[in-house]
Every structure is written in structure tokens, then in C-alpha cells.
């Protein structure tokens, strides 16, 4: 038997369950109908959208011990913010933001400095002088400093935080504090202060996969700005396995869109062997749910909309909770503590868009992140350098190959040699 069931998931059927039923395949031999019918029943079980059914199937079936592997390309990633508003309305007050959402401050307040006259402010606020505003907006420190680069040169105008108690994420510190969130499922002690700081920002607010910024950013990814790959491999069974390895990789090839604009499944991607956007994490799968074995450092290609933004998403004390979907994909959350200044820089490198189109006062965002940072205190100042975060991720089946092609990556491992030729269709960063 070949070592990996990646392309032959039916070998796992002896276990009575495959977590990837879309790839179930009958042999062309004569086992045929009776066995096929058995496999169909398994597929039906796996198709049930409730993990409890998976548990039932797994419990009823013997466990095999065969190496297996699944690979994916991310088709969606966004901050895991909980929407406490009503339906698609991302601006009306809700349980998350009872005092409303922002654009944070009117331009009149933002532009106010000790040296700028009211006449100047009025001039820049005139829509006809928008181009002039674009040029001067960043310069509003007491001595004309660029406050996007030096945000502490501007005052903290105050940013409305999330005051609701429901949120997504992980209990990263093992404690249940008053300031923590509780998940919609009732799990307490959730640390997600990035949501606390930025969850009332209308651009990011909305149901999963529907926020304005989430849609926009993921469209950039789908249009080829960057590619995120995942390889999950185990040694026993994709439904229950205590020896699972998950690898995050940056892709060297652009995401492929299908005729409906979604990310196409089953495309092949070479790994861009960038250590900054790659990590190998030990995990286990229990009843179809993959979780990190313990706090892990997670590095992957960050979501974004601009190549000038920091490419790396790096989390300490990271956690992952994914599950294989009936359609053969992967979805769930990952989280950990993130350098909050990187989160600020992501917005500040294109501050003009952030302030003028997304409606936030960048220095106030800086102060909010600083205020809610909850980990990794600076030994000298005591200021926390990291903030708890969580991200929502969805991925579709794919094939992941070595940077220079030639080898299918079936076991998650660090890939450190240099990329070869980009595949037809173009490379990305």
C-alpha cells in the first residue's frame, strides 16, 4: 500500500469514514455493488453537516492506521469578528456595538491641529478639494509630522470598542476573565482583543464571509495578490488521529477562479519557500475536529490588499480548530497573540485609503490596539506588545507541490529551498 491515502482516499474506507467524501472513489475491480453501497452509506454520514454524526460513524467503525494527507488552498480568510447587529446591516447598533459603529471621527475633528486654520480645514473638507486633502491628510502632528508613521504625535480621539460579550476565538491564556468573550456555543474565556478594539469598525463588521472589508480583501486574493496553502497529514485516520501535522505555506502560483468566481478546487500550487510565511504545527484530530496539541507559533501569509503591507501573519501561543467539510474542504478558526504594531502598520501603509475610504482615524486605531494589547509585556515599560486575535479560514481541496515542481508535498514539512519557475498563469508574491 502506498504510504499516503491522499489520492486514494478509499483506502481509508476500511475505517468506515473518510473526512473527504468528495474524493471517495470506487475501485474499478469487482468489489462493486455491495461494497459500494456500504461506501455510499458512509458518504451519507459524512455529508451530514453535524459533527455529531461524524462522531457516530467514527465510533461505529474500526480505526485503521494508514498515513493520509489532505491539501488545500485558502479561499477565504478574515478576522473572526462576531456580528451582533441585525442581518446585513453593518452600521446599526447591536449587542456588539450598542453605541453604534464607526467611521470614527468627522474629518473636521481629525484635521484639527494647533497650526491649521479653520479656513484651511473648511477648504480640505470641500469635496472639490479632495485631491489636496489626499496630499495633506497625513501631516497633522504638532510640527507637521506624518501621524500615520508617528501616530503618537496625534491625540487619541477615542475609538468605540466592542462592549458585547459574545466573540469568536480561543482561550489563549487558560483563564476566564471578565474581559473575555464567550463564543456563541458557550465556550468561555475567549481572548480576542483585536475584535474588542476594531469590531465596531463598519468595514469589518458583518456576518461571516460578508463584511465589506472581508469581501474586498478576499477578492484581492482571488485575483492573485497572494496564495495561502495548507497541507494536513496524519498517520492513522483523518477522522481520529493523535499524530497530525499541519503546514501553512505561501503559494508561488496564483489562485484559480472558477466560472462562478469562486476559488476552484483541485488546482496545483507550488510552495514559495519563504520561512516567514510558513509553519509546521503538531495537531490531533478527534471526532473530525483538528486542534493544535498545544500553544504553537503560527506563521503564514497574511491576508491583505496591498503588496506594501507586511506579508507575514505571525502568532504566538497559537491555536487552530479546523474541520474537514463534507465537500472536501477545510474550515474553522485559528488564533493567537499578534504584534499589534504590525496590525497597525497594515492599515497605515495605505493610510489614505484607511482614513478617507474606510473612515477611521489611524492614530486612534493605534491607541485602541495599544490599549487592548493583552500579552507579551515589554520588560521596561510594561506595555503589552501583543494582542489576542482570531481568524476565520476556509479552504478548498488542492494539490501542493515542491517549489520546483516534481514532488507532491504529502507530508507537512518545512520547505526551505528556493522556488523554481512560476507556473503558467503567473506567480505572485
Amino acid at each position: 500500500m502506498p504510504p499516503y491515502g491522499y489520492l486514494r482516499p478509499m483506502r481509508n474506507l476500511q475505517a468506515g469514514l473518510t473526512a473527504n467524501p468528495g474524493r471517495v472513489r470506487f475501485r474499478t475491480g469487482a468489489r462493486n455493488m455491495a461494497e459500494a453501497a456500504s461506501e455510499v452509506s458512509m458518504k451519507r454520514l459524512a455529508l451530514a453537516p453535524v459533527i455529531g454524526l461524524l462522531l457516530t460513524a467514527a465510533a461505529a467503525a474500526p480505526v485503521s492506521a494508514a498515513a493520509w494527507s489532505r491539501a488545500f488552498v485558502v479561499d477565504w480568510m478574515e478576522p473572526a469578528f462576531y456580528h451582533g447587529g441585525a442581518g446585513d446591516d453593518n452600521t446599526a447598533p447591536g449587542t456588539d456595538c450598542p453605541k453604534g459603529t464607526y467611521p470614527s471621527h468627522p474629518m473636521e475633528v481629525v484635521l484639527k491641529t494647533g497650526w491649521r486654520s479653520q479656513a484651511d480645514i473648511d477648504y480640505y473638507r470641500d469635496a472639490e478639494h479632495r485631491e489636496a486633502l489626499k496630499r495633506v491628510l497625513r501631516f497633522r502632528g504638532p510640527n507637521y509630522e506624518n501621524v500615520w508613521e508617528e501616530p503618537t504625535e496625534a491625540p487619541d480621539l477615542g475609538l468605540q470598542p466592542v462592549t458585547g460579550h459574545i466573540g469568536y476565538g480561543f482561550n489563549l491564556d487558560g483563564k476566564v476573565k471578565k474581559t473575555d468573550f464567550t463564543t456563541p456555543d458557550g465556550e468561555k474565556g475567549i481572548d480576542n482583543n483585536y475584535y474588542r478594539a476594531g469590531g465596531c469598525w463598519a468595514s469589518y463588521r458583518g456576518e461571516p464571509f460578508k463584511s465589506q472589508r472581508g469581501v474586498g480583501i478576499n477578492n484581492y486574493m482571488r485575483d492573485g495578490l497572494y496564495t495561502i496553502l495548507i497541507v494536513v497529514s496524519g498517520t492513522k485516520d483523518p477522522a481520529n488521529d493523535d499524530d497530525v501535522t499541519l503546514g501553512f505555506y505561501q503559494g508561488a502560483d496564483k489562485v484559480v477562479k472558477d466560472a462562478q468566481g469562486n476559488v476552484a478546487s483541485d488546482a496545483t500550487f507550488a510552495v514559495e519557500p519563504n520561512p516567514a510565511t510558513q509553519s509546521i504545527i503538531k495537531a490531533s484530530i478527534k471526532n473530525g475536529v483538528l486542534e493544535t496539541k498545544g500553544p504553537s507559533e503560527i506563521r503564514l501569509r497574511d491576508e491583505g490588499w496591498n503588496l506594501s503591507q507586511p506579508a507575514q501573519l505571525q502568532l504566538t501561543q497559537g491555536r487552530i480548530r479546523f474541520r474537514f467539510t463534507p465537500a472536501g474542504g477545510l474550515e474553522g478558526l485559528f488564533g493567537g497573540y499578534r504584534d499589534w504594531k504590525v496590525l497597525y502598520r497594515k492599515q497605515a501603509v495605505n493610510g489614505r485609503d484607511t482614513e478617507m475610504n474606510q473612515g477611521i482615524d489611524l492614530p486612534s486605531f493605534y491607541y485602541a490596539l495599544q490599549r487592548y494589547a493583552d500579552a507579551d509585556p515589554d520588560p521596561k515599560t510594561g506595555q503589552n506588545r501583543r494582542i489576542s486575535t482570531a481568524y476565520r479560514l476556509r479552504a478548498v481541496p488542492a494539490f501542493v507541490v515542491a517549489p520546483d515542481g516534481g514532488e507532491v508535498i504529502r507530508q507537512a514539512r518545512l520547505i526551505d529551498h528556493h522556488a523554481g519557475t512560476p507556473m503558467a498563469g503567473g506567480a505572485n508574491n
Partner: protein, 557 residues
Amino acid sequence: MLLVAAVAGLGLVATATSAPSASGPSAALPQVVGLRRLTASQYRQSVADIFGRDIKITGRFEPEVRRDGLIAIGSGEAAISTSGMEQYFGMAASIAEQATDAGHRAALAGCKPADPAAADDACATILVQRYGRLLFRRPLSAQQAAQRVALAHRVAEADHDFYSGVREAFTSLLTSPDFLFRIERAASRGPDGTAELDGYSRASRLSYLLWNTTPDETLLQAAETGALMTDAGLRAQLDRMTASPRLADGMGAFFDDMLQLELFSKQTKDPQFYPKYSQLLAAQAREQTVRTLVDQLVTKNGDYRDIFTSRDTFMTRTLAMVYQVPYVARTEWAPYTFEADSGRSGVLTQISFLSLFSHPGRSSPVKRGVALNEIFLCQPTPSPPANVDFSIVNGTSMTQLKTSRAKLEAHATDESCASCHTSVDPPGLALERFDSLGAHRDLENGVPIDVHAEIDGKSFEGAGGLGLLLHDNPRVSSCLVRDLYASATGRSIAAADKPLVNSLTKTFSGGGYRIAALLRTMALNPALYEVRPSPAQATAAPPVKVARLASSKESNR
């Protein structure tokens, strides 16, 4: 604009009839015995070989006509409509413009004008005769050449530009029936009226069959010297042409025609069910099949029957998405071998066959069965009777019938349908584990797909079993011989052809089913260069013009 005056706004029809040549430009040339419109790919390749590969050809070609399974036969009946002629004029003008522009005129071998700003009949004559010979695939008659030189002279004088005149002369040549149609002429006639093709017509048959393009200089010289009329001369050219890598072009075009791959241009798939479908996928699926067959049968000189069982093919990243396999190469195309238990073996399991002969939203065992019988066994299926009730097969109301097999079994209880479905359904049902796009599946509407079938009392299972059955079916090789012979001659196999076809089939099988050897044997046989009179002509039908003017109704029949 002499040619423009001659044909503008009028329909041309290829009537491949044996008849004395008409009066007009070709009056001094030998008798016309056949007429075949260039296919789009032959037109493109011919222009590329004559004027250069960087010449861009933009325009819409007339729809190809398929008869008895082949465009090669249909081209003998193909017309050029009024609107089609306008397209040919547009393409010709563009080609002539490019060929004579500042970047290309230096490459026009033959001569340079004494004064580029004036007419130069001597130089124009050289260019018209040189390129006219390549385009018409035989030397121009004195009258044909004189007309173009006179045209070039008038335009050059009017525009004070020698190359403007050449451009118009080239446009005239490119819109001539002598270029747009392969006009076959007789060197002699036997007592029974059978015509023997002249050397130039032989050259064209060989060149378009083997290379899918116009005869090159060497072949035209062999025609001019009469070498092609001798066994030794013919053999020498065959040796040269079958050893050339361009044989891949000729055989690629043949397989494209035989497998009806031009249907990709009309193909649609429902994006809701088949979101992976794209024009890129369609183009690459077409190329995959041609590449595979050319590689196996020409490059590797393999056994023809193995095209039904081989797991070797070529892959791209886009195709791999549908086949659900990794694509490890970093080039656009790469050789690929399916795994032994992949369920893929042979040309029948490629996206091209599986997707072309399916409905836009679902697979069709009937379409696949009909196509398989017609393409690979030369067994056309009659159209269904007009009063057949298709509601069981095509309807969605009978929800208890989950699979195509169940629907067909219910449908086949109708006796009027059963006779055809007996031969059509089994191969189609054996391929049912591939959906309308050609992707693997095991279930249809949640029910396991049964791919057992039986043909002529032989049971088999799935695509693999079907491939083996075809591999060992002698009708498969005789069908290829028929198609290749028909493609070369441009006409359907008649009763009188059968002894030769049978003989060629025996040679083909005796030689291990190698297509290059078959081509040589076939091309060395004098019968390939004979044109028998049609039954109508045998009873003294009146002669008809070669390229007669026809009404649009006639030209579209």
C-alpha cells in the same frame, strides 16, 4: 481588382465533379476532377508557410461541413457564401498588407523594384509567379499571371507605390478559387472514365494529408519534373515527408477531424454544475487528445489499438483540475501517465470525448455510444424516429429513476428504440463514471453507478473493459483505414474502394497497426491518385463549371 469583380458578392460552391474545365482563367489548365475547400487550419498553415508564421490571420472562416464522419469529405461539398467571401476578402487584404509592409517586404524573395515609387512589371511578374505558384499549388497560367501583373501595375501607378500594387495582386491571388479550393486536375483518363491526377494534384493530396499544408518547394518541383508520376519519385517524397516532424501536423489535423474535435467551438457547459469549465479548458482538452495521439502513433510509432488502453497522455495545470490529479511540472504542458487504478485508460477517458458527447448539464450514455460507434467503428446510428417519447430519458419528473442506466432501461422497453440502444447504450453506460465534463464520479443522484455492460455477448466493466474490447475489435482498425483513405481522397468510401480498403487493413494489421507504414502503403498505391467518374457522369451528365456561381440556397444545401 479583377478577381474582386469576378467573385465579389457571389457564392462559390465546391462541386467535386468530374468535368472538363471551364473557360476563364483556368481554361489552359488540365481537366478539373475534384474541388475541396481549404479547411480553416489548412488555410492558416498554408499562409504561414508561404508568407511567414508571424502573419496574423483574423477573421471568421466558413463553417466546416462534415459528411460521412469527416470534414475532409465535407470539404468537397463546402460552399463559400456571400458573407463568407467577404470574410475571405478581409483576411486576404490583411495578409497581403502584412506581407508587403515595410517589415516584411525585404523577405519577399525574388526581386526588388528598380523604383519603389513606381510600377515595375518585371519585378511584379516574378513575385506574382513565385507566390502564385505557392498559393495555387501549381504554376499560374499566362493569363492568370498577366491579370495580376496588370492589376499591380495599375495600383502602383495610381498610388506611386510598387508594393501597393503587389499587395493588390496578392489579395487577388488569396481570394482566388484556385487558392481557396484545392482544385484537382487530371493528367489523363482511362477508357472507363477514371481520371489519373496530375503531378500537382498529387502533391497537394500528399501535402495536405501528411503535413496539413500547401506543398513545399521540393514537392512542387517533384510535380513539375514529373517525378511524382513515377513510383520512385513518389517513394522519395514519401520518405522525406513521413520522416519530417511535420507529419505530426498532418496527423494531428486528421485526428482532430476524425474525433470531431471542432465541436469544442460550439461546446457549452452549465457553470452551476461544472464551474471548472472554461474556454481554456476546452482548448487544452482538444490539444491534449491531439498531442496524445500524435505522440503515441507518430512520434513513438505505436500500435493504433493502444489508444484505447494507454494511460500515457499530456497534462496541463488546468486539465489536471478536472482529472483531479496533481500537476508537478512547471511548464504549460508535460507528459503524464495516469495511475493504474485511476480509471483512466485511452482516448475514451479523456475530457475531449467525455465532455463533447454529453449534454451541457449532464452526461449522456447515448451521445457517447453514438459517437463511439461512428468515430471508431464507422457505424453511424440512424436518427431516432420522430414519434419517440424522450420524456423518460430527458425529463426530471420521474425521480425514482436516479441513474442514466435506470432511465435508459425504462426507455428501451419501447421496441422502436430498443434496436439502436442495444448497440449504443452499452459503451455509453460503461463510461458513466465520468460526468459531463469528464471528471470522475462514483455516484449519480446518490446512487452508485453500475458500469457493467455487454456487447455482442461479451461482458465488460467500465472504461477499462471497454478500452480492451475496442483494442481487440478488428472493426476499429478497418475504420481507421477507411477514414484515412477517405481523408486523403476527399470522398466517401464507395463499393469499388472496398477491395483496396480491405487490402490496406490487412497490411495495417500485419504490420502491427503502425500508422506511418499505413500511410506509406496507401500513398504508394496508384489508386490513391485516381478519380472515378460519378454514376451520374458515367451516364454522360453534362459538364459543369468548376467554380460556378450559385445562389445562396444552392450553396448552403
